[in-house]
């Protein structure tokens, strides 16, 4: 039985303290109700636990965390998965700005739209490859400075039909990792020097693997998602600033 808590009248640090105490005692599943702008939930928590959150978590959900699997029934504010290490965040709604900043591992699945500066400076190392999947559209600077990992942008469940799939400066300064986009993006929206490429067999395998999990999370039909072609954006060099200097 998951432990159920109504946190509507608690301060975030009390909530985290309570969570830490229960985790210490061996509790592994939580249901948090009345989540209402609480910041830093699960920040720095290092444990294999599962949690369902009802409401709207505030800034930096799961920052620095290692392990928890968090499912949010609602939207999340800015900074979800900030410098996250391992674990998973599933959001049955939209997410704010800077999702997955400098994320180094784990997964973030967002059903709907995300704000600006998502996936900035994600990095990968050895077997740690972070993944962000966005079901809706993304604002400017998606994947800026990306050093590793995978971002998949679907643009399907957006509440903004008039907006482009991704905002400006997509992948600016990226020097590692891959961004997959379902459909097309105008080249003028891409960061300097970047180009869209067609997928190869390897890409398709990766994409299918991650999207299958995404579909399972939200009860979606994978074939529907794969109906349209994807493009991929990869760095044009791993040393974008290698020739910048005079010695």
């Amino acid at each position: 039985m998951p432990l159920e808590l109504d946190i509507s009248h608690l301060h975030y640090s009390q909530v985290n303290k309570i969570l830490r105490d229960y985790i210490e005692k061996g509790e592994r599943e939580f249901i948090l109700r009345g989540v209402n702008g609480h910041r830093y939930l699960f920040a720095g928590i290092s444990a294999e636990i599962k949690a369902q959150l009802y409401g709207t978590p505030g800034l930096d959900l799961g920052a620095f965390m290692r392990g928890p699997e968090i499912r949010v029934f609602g939207n999340v504010q800015d900074g979800a998965g900030n410098t996250m290490d391992e674990g998973k965040i599933v959001v049955h709604g939209m997410a704010g700005d800077v999702v997955g900043y400098a994320m180094r591992g784990g997964k973030i699945h967002i059903y709907g739209d995300v704000g600006y500066r998502v996936g900035i400076h994600m990095k990968a190392y050895m077997d740690k490859v972070p993944v962000i999947i966005i079901g809706g559209k993304a604002g400017d600077f998606l994947g800026e400075y990306m050093a590793g990992g995978i971002i998949i942008l679907l643009g399907m469940h957006s509440i903004y039909p008039e907006r482009p799939l991704a905002g400006l400066f997509l992948g600016t300064g990226m020097h590692g990792g891959t961004i997959y986009v379902r459909g097309k993006v105008k080249e003028s929206y891409l960061g300097l020097g970047l180009k869209p490429y067609a997928l190869d067999g390897e890409d398709e395998k990766i994409l299918e693997k991650h999207l299958k999990e995404y579909c399972d999370d939200f009860g979606l039909d994978l074939s529907e998602i794969l109906k349209e072609d994807f493009i991929k954006i990869i760095p044009y060099t791993h040393r974008p600033y290698g020739k910048l200097y005079a010695y």
């Binding site: 920052a63 620095f64 410098t83 900043y101 900035i120 400075y145 040393r239 290698g242 910048l244 010695y247």
Partner: protein, 507 residues
Amino acid sequence: MGTPQFASFYPDFYIERLWEKCIKCRRCVKECSYGAHIWDEKKKTLLEDHTKCVGCHRCEAMCPTKAIIIRRHPSEFREHALWTPWFIKNIYKQADQGGVLLTSTGCALPFKNYFDHLVLDACQVTNPPIDPLREPMELRTYIGPKPEALEIEEVNGKFRLKKKLPPLIKLEVPIMFAAMSYGAISLHVHQGLARAARDLGTLYNTGEGGLHASLYEYGSNTIVQCASGRFGLHVDYLKAGVAIEIKIGQGAKPGIGGHLPGEKVTEEISKTRMIPVGSDALSPAPHHDIYSIEDLRGLIYALKEATEYKKLVFVKIAAVHNVAAIASGIVRAGADAVVIDGLKGGTGAAPTMFRDYIGIPIELAISAVDKRLREEGIRHRTSIIASGGIRSSADVVKAIALGADAVYIGTAALIAVGCTMCQRCYTGKCPWGIATNNPELIKRLPPEVAYEKIYNLVKAWAHEIKEMLGAMGINSIESLKGNRDKLRAVGLTKEEMEILEVKHAGE
């Protein structure tokens, strides 16, 4: 013929070999990581490529017969007060290569050094000086927020504090080691700094390159850094030290991020930074989750929350025009210490224009920040840590008298381990084994040597500080903090003295 490379026509240095002393042992050829000494196998003699010499003096120091002298190149341009060789050669370099001028260390221009215009007081007749050899003299400093007032209660006839004090960091000397990342400097230097910090009762700072596995044991003397690149930053790292420093800016290059070139990302560094071997480690100019004081508060508390409020959070900024207002915002955002790095703060690599022209001198910044925080009634909520151009124990004393709680030293610690200020750390070929990770070069500076030198330096400074305090009739560094009455200006303008809040000598 290819395009001429003008910069290569005019070397900066001249390698003079005293042939009557040279025994052709070829040590210099081995020592020079830049290839300025060449062995001519056919003629069985030594050659020099002056254009490659960076003036590090390694060969001169290592030559067994002292047969080498490194001089400024004697060849001269016609004098011109405006177009000095420095500017002429920089233009050649850029015309040749079309890039940003890169350099290392701190500002090299002779901007007024305020420390050199401040003199200290000493007791004469009316109150006697204190002799630190005879009487206890305290350099102990506590870093972190102090309560507004102490509430004391009596329980069973004993007095005690009503509320627990927030965590503070105890330093036995008010000198810490500034952030220098593993990657920018060698692991041996890090090991030396860590051990010296432990034995001196102070802290060293990991810089932004993560923490090497061998250094976790020095946790209680460690400040870990959280910079915009967030390299090697995970929960264990955040919890490893006693404080977390959010690096917003750096005196040597305010307003820009860091960049460890792929050449320097070796196997070990890749493990620590958690990025692939050979890839550039780029730290963006801003933290992309911080665009305001409110956002800064966001990160400060994310870090505190993630570490269960057991660690202090410092925020480091470069001293720039509005430093006082910025520092006030930082304190209100919840920083336990504000680190201010002045114009002369060093670096492993910075664009020359940034190093030399951006930022303000640390002396003015300390005083301005201290004053502003006092005026706003929030000085006790934070500690001020000053850095950038601290060259001697007298500079430490002056910085504290101007309002700092403690200082960071970086360049001074490197000079202690042999750095000759050649200003070429960015090449990764430091012949002294300091700013390099070349496996052959780092052997030149074993960790024990680094430890011993750094330890000696700070021990010596600590003693000098005690002597100076004693001479002023003070027996605790606490009484010196912000005590500008112990300072007098020599040759400063009214305005400068106002900012420093010091009187002129004779007043």
